[in-house]
Every structure is written in structure tokens, then in C-alpha cells.
């Protein structure tokens, strides 16, 4: 399987009483009270250094994503980060996994097609093209896109992007939301017919259908862990089967929070407060932000209402041990982490493209490197061979990287194995 390091680029030093003083980490957090541009420059550099460390430590890919007006993740342009990563990893077998630039917030959306083509050229064909719908907070609340048009715009932009990469001739796009009379991308991607496409989602049934119909890798980006995702991912696999596609595990991606230490007890000592920071502060927003009226199409709205509106658990009431026990975070010794990922993520969800979040909340730079190093040394090698015995081809991975296990290109330094 393929295992990539994911990063959110969070604010690592929110005040202790943040969730009491402010209504939301997203859309409305006041910059001038909470942040300092010089310090944030340091966060960006740590983030890049951490992802480059992961790239050298043997991860198969490095992932960035897009959020707006969000203190837990503020890479409004993931492609700026991706460009640094692509350049700095040249000559390696690491995929640049953009999870990614959000089509409905890019106008015109061929901007994403162009930038991804640039990244594919710079990286020598190592791009994974995540094409997310984008969250309601980013797209509707921050970027003003009408909720009921969000999915339609996305679908039109998606079709336009795929055509723009592949068309041999200049074409006109006379769409409902986008009109471009002279589409003729410069550059085009190295990968043919186009870079592998991943579509991140959060469990909407409409997105399952869309992902399967378009034959892309569906990635469930959840912060609630694999245990909580089981029913949802089963729903995805049911759609795959119903639509007659092969149940290739590489059509599924999943994001899991992971923390590795010498022992389970050491993991608690090192990571507990960072995990609690993440779930108590970083995921602090009014629940209705997730789905302003119209954002869910009618079918999904009815399905969600009938399912008694899966009330998300109140994570503020949970502590580190709850998060670990319930599988929000897989944490502990390398053996514990390895066994749980194998069972809960790989087997139970049938996931071939795993993303792990190893910098969690307030986790400082040195500890992040330690977590990454331990994962790369002691966990990753034991996972890489998963699914090999079944002989599936990972069509959703850059072709020139498919067969290769990324070697450790340099001995990681500064991993702080105290």
C-alpha cells in the first residue's frame, strides 16, 4: 500500500481558553488577537520542514490541503506549499499529493488545472491531483459560493479540468457557471492521460456515486478515526460493487491521526495534550457551519435526516484515553500502532492509500519529527506490503512511482530520540 504524510499547518499556540472565548476556529477567528505574522512564518517553515523530513524518511507521499480563515489549517493555497515540496524532493520517489486545491473556490477553475500541471512538470510526473469539493466553511461561508450551487459548480469544474488536461486542440467551454472561449492549457501535465485523481469527501452519498462513476480514488478525510468510519466506508464499497467496479483497495484513501512512542505509556506522556488541543480547540466550530441549507443536495439531506442526523460526538467531553480507545487517534508503541492500523484502517476499511497525520494540533516541531521518524522506521515498513498478495494495481498513484518503495534517502537527523 501507499502511505503518505499529511499536514494541516495548524496554529500551534492557541490560548488555553480559546474554545471558551471564541465561537469558532474557522471563518470568524480574529487574526489580530490570535496570530502574529512573524510567528506564522515559522509555522509555515516548520510545516515544510516536517513534510520534507517525512519525504526523506521513507513516506510514499506528502500531502497538503486547502482551508480558508481557519486557525487549524491555513494553507489557502496548497499549491504554494506543493511547489516547494516538488522542487525539494526532485530525484526522489515521493509523490506530491495535493488534497488539494479546491475547484469551486478557484475562478476560473482551470487555474487549478494549470497549477497542477506545473507541479507535475516540476516534480517530474509525481503529482497526485486531489480535486476536493471543499468544505461548506471554505466555499460557502468564506468564499461566498451559494450552497445549492456548490456541488453543481464542482461537477462542472471537475469535467472542465479533466478535459483541459487531455484535449489535443484548443476548445471552447460554454458551461453553466464557467464560460471560456479559448481553453488551451500551458503547461500540460507529464502524466498521461492525466495525473491520478483523488476526490476527498466526508461521507456524502452523492460523492460516493460521483467518485465511482468517475473512477477516481475516494478519500475519506475524517478526524474521527477508522473505527467511526466503518459504516460509511462500507457504504462506499457497496456503491463500488453496485456499479460493477472492481473492489480494488486503492480506490480508497483514508486519513488517520497517529502518534508513536517507545511504549503506550510514553505515547500518552508525549502526545496527550497535543491530541486534546486538536480535538478541543482545532475542531471548535458551530455545527451548523458544516452544512448551510442547500449545501447537501435533497437526496443527501433526506438520507441524513432519516439516519437521525448522525450527531457527531462532543469531542470536548473526551480526553486522550477516550480518543485512543475510540480510535480517533491511533497512538502507542510502534507495535500497538502497527497492529491497530492493519486491523482498523487497512482491513476494516479496505484502504490502499493511507494518509497519516503526524503533526497534531500543538505538537512542536521536534516532537513532530520524532513521531514521523518512529512511524517511518518502526511502523511503515510493516504496512507497506499490505495488499501485495492480492495483486491489485494502484491506478491512482503516479505510474512511475507505483512499483517503488521509496528508499530512505538520508538518515533523518534531529529526530530527538531522547
Amino acid at each position: 500500500m501507499k502511505i503518505s504524510a499529511f499536514h494541516l499547518m495548524p496554529h500551534r499556540e492557541l490560548p488555553d481558553d480559546f474554545e471558551k472565548r471564541y465561537e469558532s476556529v474557522w471563518v470568524t477567528p480574529p487574526w489580530h488577537e490570535l496570530a502574529d505574522a512573524e510567528r506564522v512564518g515559522q509555522y509555515y517553515n516548520w510545516t515544510l520542514d516536517e513534510l520534507l523530513f517525512a519525504a526523506r524518511a521513507g513516506f510514499d507521499g506528502v500531502c497538503t490541503n486547502e482551508h480558508h480563515q481557519n486557525a487549524y489549517g491555513f494553507m489557502p493555497s496548497p499549491n504554494i506549499m506543493g511547489a516547494v515540496l516538488a522542487k525539494a524532493t526532485n530525484g526522489s520517489n515521493v509523490a506530491i499529493v495535493q488534497m488539494g486545491a479546491t475547484l469551486p473556490t478557484s475562478n476560473p477553475p482551470i487555474r487549478v488545472a494549470e497549477e497542477y500541471a506545473m507541479l507535475d512538470c516540476i516534480s517530474g510526473g509525481r503529482l497526485v491531483a486531489g480535486l476536493p469539493l471543499g468544505s461548506a466553511m471554505d466555499v460557502n461561508l468564506c468564499y461566498g459560493i451559494t450552497p445549492i450551487e456548490h456541488r453543481e459548480r464542482y461537477r462542472e469544474a471537475f469535467a472542465l479540468t479533466l478535459k483541459a488536461w487531455q484535449a489535443r486542440e484548443l476548445f471552447a467551454w460554454n458551461g453553466r457557471y464557467y464560460q471560456l472561449a479559448n481553453v488551451n492549457l500551458w503547461p500540460r501535465p507529464i502524466q498521461q492521460p492525466h495525473p491520478p485523481v483523488w476526490v476527498p469527501g466526508s461521507g456524502s452519498i452523492s460523492t460516493f456515486d460521483f467518485a465511482v462513476e468517475n473512477d477516481v480514488c475516494y478519500c475519506f478525510l475524517s478526524y474521527s478515526g477508522a473505527k467511526a468510519a466503518k459504516t460509511m466506508m462500507q457504504g462506499y464499497w457497496d456503491v463500488v460493487a453496485k456499479k460493477g467496479r472492481e473492489t480494488n483497495p486503492y480506490r480508497a484513501g483514508f486519513l488517520q491521526l497517529v502518534a508513536v512512542a517507545e511504549t503506550d505509556a510514553a505515547a500518552e506522556a508525549k502526545y496527550a495534550r497535543h491530541v486534546e488541543y486538536f480535538y478541543h480547540k482545532c475542531l471548535h466550530w458551530p455545527i451548523q457551519y458544516l452544512s448551510p441549507p442547500g449545501n447537501q443536495d435533497y437526496r443527501s439531506l433526506v438520507a441524513a435526516a432519516k439516519a437521525n442526523i448522525r450527531r457527531a460526538e462532543d469531542t470536548k467531553a473526551l480526553r486522550y484515553r477516550d480518543f485512543v480507545e475510540k480510535g480517533y487517534v491511533i497512538a502507542g508503541s510502534a507495535a500497538t500502532v502497527r497492529d491497530r492500523i492493519k486491523q482498523e484502517v487497512v482491513k476494516d476499511l479496505r484502504v490502499g492509500n493511507l494518509m497519516v497525520l503526524l503533526q497534531i494540533g500543538s505538537m512542536p516541531h521536534e516532537l513532530t519529527l520524532e513521531n514521523m521518524d518512529r512511524f517511518a522506521r518502526d511502523v511503515l515498513p510493516a504496512l507497506r506490503g499490505e495488499w501485495d498478495d492480492e495483486g491489485w494495481v494502484n491506478h491512482w498513484w503516479p505510474e512511475r512511482l507505483r512499483g517503488t518503495a521509496a528508499p530512505r534517502t538520508a538518515a533523518p537527523v534531529g529526530a530527538g530520540r531522547a
Binding site: N140, Y289, P292, K306
Partner: protein, 262 residues
Amino acid sequence: MSERTIAAWDGRVRIRVQSKGSGPALVFLHGPWGLTWDPFLDELAKSFTVHAPEHPGTTPDTPDDVYQLDNLWDLVLCYDEVFAALGLEQAAVVGHSFGGMLGCELAAAYPARVRRLAAIAPLGFWRDTDRVVNWMMLDPARLPGYVFREPNGEAAQRMFGAPDDPEAATAARVRLVWAMGTTGKFIWPIPDKGLKKRIHRLTAPTLLIWGKEDRLVPPVYADEFTRRIAGARVQTVDGAGHMPHLERPDVVARMIREFVAG
């Protein structure tokens, strides 16, 4: 009461219209929370033939028809077709909130269609200093408190209260959310879609009605209308929020009766 479905927009947008009463024609355009026939409309039906269309997509059987319309211009054209299908050369128009804005747009686009216009707490303008609260971003539990003066009152319960039967409660919830989503299509994220450029075309005598304690669209917005519509009058309603016609149905119906007859 009679009910019919008008196939507008070349048959692609089905609009259900409930009609009741006798007398001169009056078209009621509902707000962002869907249409329920209520005591206010009953009151109006004593003096008028009331036609109450449901905005595209807000009828449970045809939720996706709203996707046939791209923008406010399409919606206004669609309503011109509804008037024609109802056989109305001209009618009095009463609109609430989103429906009030739509009434203004109709009267600006087709001045001959609208004999008199009563707009109850209409949307359509924006002041940075008196922001219209975006009800679509509110905690559902707090929504009734913004819309009604008395969130636990009878009128609020009729609109927002959950029925005891779980299936009916689910259907009611879906209907409410979808009504906000479909009407939101024409006003997101700021309900100022150019009425200020068009409102000068409006020639119908106009009455603005505002609840004194409107917490959603502050009553100061009445000024935006009165300074642009010649002869427009404002009447405020004591003890009412954003739903004066439901909170004080007798008072508001009387205002409208007198205005339309006058």
C-alpha cells in the same frame, strides 16, 4: 381552498399554488421558510382571492426543479409565467421577507402586473452598519428567536415546532432546510442583488410593513425602500419580529385590506 400545479419554464419548473377566497386577486409570496397556509392568509381570503405559490423547489414532490433556474432574473420571468397561467393581468402582491424582495423585483420588471405592493420585512438591501442576519448560518435552535419575537409562541411553534410523529418531524425538518436552501440560491451570501438599480421602475403604490422588534432584518431597512419608491408608506407592528403577519395576523391583514382597497 383549491390547489393547482403550474408547469412554468417550459414545463421544467412546477409551481404549486394554493388559492382561497373571493374578491380581487392577491398574490402572496412567501419567505425563506416555506409556505404553510396560516390564519393570516385565511384572514386575507375573506376579502380577496388569495393565490399563494410555493417557490421553485420548496414543494416536497419537486425539490430539484429549482436547479432549472440560474438566477434571480430567471425566477422573475418564471413568476411572470405564473401570473399568466393564473389568468392574472394584474394583481395586488403581498410578499414577506424573501417574497417581499421578489415582489419588488416583479413590480420593477413588470410594472403593469402589480396593482399594489405590500412588502412585509422585505430583503433586498444591505447596510454594513445594520447587517441582515444570515439565518442560514444560525444554530437551528436559535433560529426561532431571530425570526419571531416570541420563539416559544404559537406562531413560532407552527413554523418551527417539531411534530410528535418522528416521520412527520423528519419531513418537516427536511422541508424547512430545503426551503432555506432553495430560496438562498437567489440571495446568498448578501441579499442585495441589484434591486437598487431596478427599483426606480416600480410604479405600484407601495406599503412597507415591519415588525418593531425584527431581529433579522432591522426596521431601519424600511428607509431604503421609502427613499426610492415615490409615495411609499411604512407601518410598523408592535409586538412583532420578522413575522408580523403571523405574530399579529389580524393587525397586518387589516393594514393590507385597507391599503389594497384604498
